[in-house]
Amino acid sequence: MDTLSALANGFSIALTFQNLGLALIGCFLGTIIGALPGLGPSNGVAILIPLAFSLGLPATPALILLTSVYYGAMYGGRISSILLNIPGDEPALMTTLDGYPMAKKGMAGEALALSGIASFVGAFFATWGLVFLAPQLVKVALLFGPAEYFALFALAFATLGGIASRNQAKAALAAGLGLGIAMIGVDGQTGVPRFTFGEVHLYDGIDFLVAIVGLFALSEVFIFLEHRGTAKATGDASGIKLGRLTPPMSMIKQTAPTMARSTVLGFIAGVLPGAGASLGSFIAYSVEKRLVDKHGTFGTGDPRGVAAPEAGNNAAAGGALVPMLALGVPGSGTTAVLLAMLLALNITPGPLLFTNNPDVVWGLIAALFIGNLMLLVMNIPMVSLFVRVLLVPPRYLMPAVAMISFVGIYGISGSTFDLMVMVFFGVLGWVLRKLDVPLVPVILGVLLGNQMEANMRRAMTISDGDWSALFASPLSIGLWLFAFFGFILPIVAGRFFRSKLPRTDSEADPD
């Protein structure tokens, strides 16, 4: 019952005027970010981090704001999926399959309401899963020494590359690139400069916030510039009538088992490192299709085909927070960006977070419960408000996004050099996305590189330079095996599985 009292304490933190306000703003912004094609949870959160940081928000309020955006984006993505047949973000891709046909049948309102309920169910139970699973994982993580942490980081890269990407070599390249960038700057243990080429600006290393905003937000602007005038990301929602915004009870009853199963599957997909919300919704939809699609109605506007991916992706979003908070190892793009927020605030996630800063963790979790309720209200009765936002064309939206990115980075340091680095990363992100190289391993490398090296060297110092110490304990051997198979198995067996993953335009990243 420790957990429950900690949670109650969390509610007392979250229920302040400021935190409630931030959760409300976050949910609202998140829904918009999710709904707008071209802005997803990872780039939405990426743009807001430098802003939250330069506004000087303390850790708990900042996290509440950003995770509300994250949860909100998972709700918002479905709006454009259903109304425009354009996924508002990557995880909402599966929702187009049955959501848009439902809208064409004149049931847009029902589809939006039902998917809103499914999102709520998925997120609600996943947050409970977070409450109970994270402390258990913390107990395991407390047994970790430096060697185990080193293996854990390797595991995160391996599964991210193995499970979530189409080309393992490219994921490995991306990880190497990120780790290499992390090496720039003064070595933390001996104080010697590395890869600085005498440039003073580089002594502090590359600021990961600069890299993230460049890679995720600015590269999006280039993508839009490239596709200007084509059908991509232009849609017209004005012609669609919403209809009634309450699904009939029979529809809820019919989809209840689907929601339950999809929530469980989505949560598991979220907890596993390397698989984010996109995979959660994909797995939920395909399992449901195999299980209950007896009359071949999936894909023609079956309500269960709307409920499954939405419950799945929202549950996965909650699940992905488990390894991020308990181990400090994010399993998806957006949680990697959230990790950057924590690191920027000098808070190291992981088991110590639960003992040293319990109010951050439990305040955040309580805020997620509250935010989820707010989102339910925003996304069913007030959904037409967001439909209007969809009418803002990208040619006005993207310049604003670019400028806000510049404002955020300039706000941190006020240095032109950082803006240059950001533009560089924007171009790099665009080229890498064109070449189908995933960006999340790059970010993960930049974020975790120094910790990974520090843990390796600590383990070596303890063992006095004996490399076998990295594989000495059963725990680390287990992690290495998991990492090995997580990377190798998808190459061997994964051709079959991955070929079914829908290939989208440029995304090689799990959100």
Partner: protein, 143 residues
């Protein structure tokens, strides 16, 4: 072909990275591993994955035609110019120009694009500077 170029460049970068890693000066205080080994491991990982991409390339991505590439290049130049203009011309003026340019290149008619640029610049100034109190670049006129 693109992937082979990527693999080739990656390989060169890896070699350069490893070479630079061997040049890192050791400090007199050091741990058993030192500051060189981990970067070298990364360099090897980078080289191996570059080789894999070089020999097993994916299908060719769709590159935009030359005029679009030129346009992306021009936009990059505008962004760099913007970064340099910020401290001298101030936030509102430089942002209005850059946002108007971007909006125009994304397909807005010129006059509307100028209006959009000004609205975006003033909007950001009001929300982030006046309401939220974020420090923005100050020009000769103080905004």
């Amino acid at each position: 072909m693109s992937d082979r170029i990527l693999g080739g460049l990656g390989l060169l970068l890896a070699i350069f990275f490893i070479w630079q890693a061997t040049l890192i000066k050791e400090s007199f205080i050091s741990d058993p591993v030192g500051p060189k080994i981990f970067p070298i491991i990364i360099g090897v990982l980078f080289a191996v994955s570059s080789l894999a991409i070089l020999f097993r390339p994916d299908e060719e991505p769709e590159w935009p035609e030359f005029s679009r590439l030129f346009e992306v290049g021009l936009t990059i130049a505008v962004m760099i110019a913007y970064a340099y203009a910020l401290p001298t011309a101030g936030f509102v003026v430089s942002t209005a120009v850059a946002a108007a340019y971007l909006s125009w290149r994304l397909g807005t008619p010129p006059v509307k694009a100028v209006i959009a640029g000004v609205v975006i610049a003033i909007g950001i100034y009001v929300v982030f500077h006046l309401i939220l109190g974020l420090s923005l670049a100050r020009g000769p006129w103080g905004f």
